[in-house]
Symmetry: C2
Amino acid sequence: MAIIIHKYGGTSMGSVERIQNVAKRVAKWMRAGHQVVVVPSAMSGETNRLLDLAKEIHPTPNPRELDQIASTGEQVSSGLLALALHREGIDAVSYAGWQVTIHTDSAFTKARIMGIEDEKIRADLNLGKAVVITGFQGVDPNGNITTLGRGGSDTSAVAVAAALKAEECLIYTDVDGVYTTDPRVCEDARRLDKITFEEMLEMASLGSKVLQIRSVEFAGKYQVKTRVLSSLTDPLIALEQEMKSGTLITFEEDSTMEAAVISGIAFARDEAKITVLSVPDRPGIAYQILGPIADANIDVDMIIQNQSVDGKTDFTFTVPRADYQKAFDLLKNSVQAHIGAKDILGDPKVSKVSVVGVGMRSHVGVASKMFRTLSEEGINILMISTSEIKISVVVDEKYMELAVRALHKSFELDQR
Amino acid sequence: MAIIIHKYGGTSMGSVERIQNVAKRVAKWMRAGHQVVVVPSAMSGETNRLLDLAKEIHPTPNPRELDQIASTGEQVSSGLLALALHREGIDAVSYAGWQVTIHTDSAFTKARIMGIEDEKIRADLNLGKAVVITGFQGVDPNGNITTLGRGGSDTSAVAVAAALKAEECLIYTDVDGVYTTDPRVCEDARRLDKITFEEMLEMASLGSKVLQIRSVEFAGKYQVKTRVLSSLTDPLIALEQEMKSGTLITFEEDSTMEAAVISGIAFARDEAKITVLSVPDRPGIAYQILGPIADANIDVDMIIQNQSVDGKTDFTFTVPRADYQKAFDLLKNSVQAHIGAKDILGDPKVSKVSVVGVGMRSHVGVASKMFRTLSEEGINILMISTSEIKISVVVDEKYMELAVRALHKSFELDQR
């Protein structure tokens, strides 16, 4: 008998019938003798409906009130799931974040979990109950409801797993695991049985949006065995089969992994790059350029500054394409003259492609193989950035899919 | 500067535009220097949507989970109203019942308020904030969310008014006050400027469903000056005019009331009556008849048992028409033989008409005037029941409207 955490996304909770399927699946785990805590998201569409209502009333809604409103979606789906479990003959109880208690800081709409009280959950589990806990939310030290931001239910589930020292945290979603790359771009993409949490971190942040990145950080920090698997299988599928499905996020680079240098190809299609041309290479210049961008709430991803020549350097960075015009205008109108840059150049149609793998650490030649592959396809590399387990390049958007497919093949990700 | 409580029903909160109108009205009161606490219902239709979802999942849903689910409707509307107030330039904060705290017992779906903590509300009011508190709900001693049952937001508002010793509790609704009778039945019906809370109690329980009856009991117990008024007027209507509109529920029978013997004609259209014929007149017989009815969760209204003749008596009572068949079958199949009754008779098409007024206490002849009026119209009286300030008769449904109009006229309710 082990404590198992189940997390179900909005699509998995999207209708009465789907909620009933979730209940059937949970009931199966309970009957097999496991203690199960379920963390559901809001029914798909519900959070957006609530946020749209709020924005219709106020263009820049107060974040505390937004959280009061948005958190209700999970409260409803959790209550409904408890009822569906009752229907399956399972004793079940649902709790909102403040009832558990899930303590967070006060950063409304993007709060961080500070701690989870486990007494109530353990008591219910020991009574044979399924415990349903609202994902996405908690309560701050002043008794205000907080939410964890988009995808926050993943983090809730992993945090609950950590607090209960659960055997495994199962993240049920509408894909059946983590793939070597997006199957829509490369038909040879293959599901990974295992991935290290560091690779997962790079894959998640690079656009393979299977798991919220903070949940992966959490899983890494507290060594929570986390599995991404499909909620679209028959809910009564044999337990042994289900326990081997999906992709397990592990913490050891075990022997079966040694063979693979690269685990996957990640990409972010909708990027844009901006170059500040010929700026004086003096201390504080990066801050003078990126400070106003950050103040405008625009995320900056890759940043490159080359060796300066004659005391001047070019400064290039990428932003999400949706923020490109805003960022460009900001630099052109408020920053260029101020810092004495020669010009601002931009390209709103670039994409980022990355190869990711812990095997990279002990294998030389990954970068050269990547660059050779792209070169053989005639793809020009616009920017390069590297970390310990990934290499990212920025290319013209029109070459992105070709780059992904070529790299997938040359690193033999289609095989094994 | 006084503390004023505003309560808005689901229709008044039914759309973004209406919520904005509510905010305009509240802002007007704030700018006039009042401290305002607002208690909104869920947006119209929302509570039903949630309950329907629950019932789709479980035919007899667990009441604790129902309350977890249903209580979210008010949390959303309260958050939205806070945002709309911000839009009006008013500092505002919304609280769910458990955040206030509104303490209740543990009778899920029909909980009773045990106490309200007022520190947080007072602190916010003193900071110049409008405080928005979810109606309809509270939290039990074990931290479970509870709801107060249909119309419970009225009770929430009056209870908050009592806790804060508010100057007045304004119940904004889609009618502009309490009428001498339903204007749809009698076009001469006239809005009452004042009504005593005892009369209001009788009017409410008799089917003039302007206010939840428990809120009126609460208002009476804690002497909360409560006013029923329209939320459909221009929200920027002059404050002096608004403060005189609607119907004020008072606690003194002041001089202006002496003239009126009767304040209104109440009625309940969809009644049914059942007679248990010739039952032995022995102790416990009423319980043997009504016990099974109560166990089946059927409300019994009027009960009449006549003087027995030869140790036998007839026992008659009324039930809501929707429960008639169930009640009838119950008596016929399980009770009749058991208690030795001769037969069970029933009439599913009767209505109740009542004259209500505190003036009745000091005026004789109300009953005889009522009976004479009905007799002159050729209306047969099937049952009679009286209390200190009301007389009710049951008549054939087809005569109900005629009875209401005739009584309205004979007691001169159209005049003054």
